[in-house]
């Protein structure tokens, strides 16, 4: 009898996570995470009574700390999304190319179970890093600038959803593109969408193409910034949080379907 789907998925996902943990890139990620936290610590250490001069007027650092916090949190969230994409971009393709997936798929295992387990394994690393980096940063910002923590939780969830979309799409892309091309696509995809989102949030028009990207692409940057609105004044009243949540949810479903359809079509060992 075929083992239960949950047993199969759990066994494969645990192994995929362990496999991801054993990769040589993991210590590099840990060092980057530590450097990011040191940078956040350095950027927030002047909060309190310090003042800056803006156009000849003295401004308390606390008045601009919400904006600083939003910027720091958004950049770190984008870093987590890129990390998720890069890790996913060869976590499945590697096993298909070297043939080690064949033995697993010769067992009573669905391709969808295998692909989703590999996705979960690579996301495990990205999420662990994200939780550490974003929660410590949010705590430092809360402690030193007094920004509310609740917003950071919503922003963290938005980041997790966006990272899921990036990872699933990167994994699908890695099944049809070479490893380096898939990794470069992740950088381009996240960078371009973040740029369009940022311009749109401040009401800057990027022409027809920019509007299409803003309208239909996953709201990677917008979702995080909108969640952090309590830290700043509303940047763009046209952005409705409920629509943002719906868009992210639809992109999560679509990205998984794209991944599964690509893997189903992929011929193994030909």
């Amino acid at each position: 009898m075929r083992p239960a789907a949950t047993t199969v998925f759990r066994a494969l996902a645990v192994e995929a996570f362990r496999d991801a943990m054993r990769r040589r890139i993991v210590p590099v990620i840990a060092v980057f995470a530590l450097l990011s936290l040191l940078a956040v610590d350095s950027c927030t250490s002047c909060a309190g009574s310090s003042q800056v001069v803006e156009n000849g007027t003295r401004v308390s650092v606390d008045d601009i700390s919400g904006w600083t916090g939003m910027l720091i949190f958004t950049v770190l969230s984008l870093w987590v999304m890129v990390l998720a994409g890069l890790l996913a971009s060869d976590h499945l393709a590697e096993t298909v190319l070297d043939g080690s997936a064949h033995l697993t798929l010769a067992r009573p295992v669905r391709r969808s179970e295998f692909a989703l387990a590999r996705l979960a394994g690579s996301l495990g690393i990205a999420y662990t890093t994200g939780v550490v980096v974003l929660s410590v940063s949010a705590y430092l910002l809360h402690l030193r600038s007094g920004v509310p923590l609740g917003a950071a939780i919503w922003a963290g969830l938005a980041c997790a959803a966006a990272a899921f979309v990036v990872a699933a799409l990167a994994m699908a892309l890695s099944l049809v593109l070479a490893r380096i091309a898939a990794a470069m696509s992740v950088l381009f995809f996240v960078g371009a969408i973040a740029l369009v989102n940022a311009f749109a949030l401040f009401g800057v028009s990027l022409g027809r193409l920019g509007e299409v990207v803003q309208q239909f692409a996953p709201p990677l940057c917008t979702a995080v910034v909108v969640a952090l609105e309590p830290w700043i004044a509303p940047v763009n009243p046209d952005v409705v949080p409920a629509i943002m949540v719906l868009k992210l949810a639809l992109w999560m479903i679509a990205s998984v379907l794209i991944l599964l359809a690509t893997f189903q079509k992929r011929e193994l060992g030909s």
């Binding site: 009898m1 075929r2 083992p3 047993t7 199969v8 066994a11 494969l12 192994e15 362990r18 496999d19 054993r22 990769r23 096993t95 070297d98 043939g99 080690s100 064949h102 033995l103 697993t104 798929l105 010769a106 067992r107 009573p108 295992v109 669905r110 011929e267 193994l268 060992g269 030909s270």
Partner: protein, 236 residues
Amino acid sequence: MIALELIGVSKCYGSRDALRGVDLSLAAGSALGLLGPNGAGKTSALRILLGFTKASAGTVRLQGLSPRDPASRVGVAYLPERLQLPGRMTVLSFLKLHATLAGLNGSELERDVESVLEQAGLSARASERLGSLSKGLTQRVGFAQAFLARPKILIMDEPTSGLDPIGVRDARDWILAARRRGCSILVSSHLLSEVERTCDQVAIIDEGSLVANDALDELVEPGETLEDAFVRLVAK
């Protein structure tokens, strides 16, 4: 009962025909040796049977089901030609994972893993990373995973590749033991003497077409070896 069958199966890779209308079946409890020159289409046939690739035409059944259905692979074990194991895993964790996927759990899983480790002479290597093993030992791990959970169907592609003479003899003994247990075996091999010793049926594929498919003693004429019969049929 039929363990597996290909009916009129063709497979094209671009303009190249890897298989042309191949009919092949394996009765439960039988052992079929699939022979053919390099590039004849043997590996393509095995990949189609396991659902790794789709046939361009024809019908494929594994335990009466489509190979795309995971239920068709319950009780099926596979040993590929170019065995690639996840190098970052240890021998033990790899076998435990496959035992779980084969449907074992708890103490039954522990017992079975221990038994195949011992059978394959890998007990002392259980904690070593798969990536650090020699080709011969890697092949032994491949055999160990194939014999987990007492499979009903064994599909093997060049199973003795990379094994030393003792390993080849051990592999033959394991295959014969599986046969005695009633396991159906499909083995693709260039080692005709091994096929002669382990199989009761032989199918020969040449340039994608089936040129012979018969009981071993029907295929080999009096005074001939299997090698003579192979050369005679392929050279036709």
